[in-house]
Point group: C2
Chain length 139, copies 2
Amino acid sequence: MALQGKELTIGQVHSAQVVQDLKRTQIVQYAGASGDYNPIHTDEPYARDIAGYPTVFAHGMLTMGMTGAMLTDYVGDGRLTKFGVRFTSQVWPGDDLKASAIFEGLEESVDGTLANFAVETVNQDGAVVLKGYAQARVD
Amino acid sequence: MALQGKELTIGQVHSAQVVQDLKRTQIVQYAGASGDYNPIHTDEPYARDIAGYPTVFAHGMLTMGMTGAMLTDYVGDGRLTKFGVRFTSQVWPGDDLKASAIFEGLEESVDGTLANFAVETVNQDGAVVLKGYAQARVD
């Protein structure tokens, strides 16, 4: 199931719908999993009335985690060696997110052949919510 | 509660215990939050008997998420602008993890003053499980 470097062509895009209709419960699960209990993510009255947001919103790291699930599913478990992102827009309950990895080339290293990818996650309106890169062993 | 750039000195270390005695349940919660249901993380007989590991182990992205919680707690919510890591060692049930951010300097940008940090997470034996960097708005 490991991705083979020879199957990749520069510019090739792998995309996956990583969440459809994001639920508040999923954000609450992420608070429990990560230990980040900032009420802005899980307490609707706090988010609206005190912090002034239209509603609660997802932890940036949850978007990163869902994007990471696309990556590990694509490259094979235990093969993701680097992953870095910028958070470019907020993710709200009800959002659909599509994450993409764009192959940028191979490099050789002591760990074997590594593939470099640009990574981008967009919402249902096409707004980019996360931009970054990833590197994975592919041989 | 936002971190002020002027309070930071180069080399200053902020550390937090991000998990003590990691539970299998927390790994299962992360599977549910991220959508990464690879059985190697949640199915003990599969991890041992089929994949040949001593037990299930945490998703790399869960370690990243717990480290990210240290960062957002430190710099203030919505201020983390970049975060990138390498996964350097596996994280097992029962592990204690301590995550650290080491201040490396400030830079000015159109988004205001940004602080750069080296990031490192170690387990109870001092083994480094994650290495990376982060950038955050601090003014």
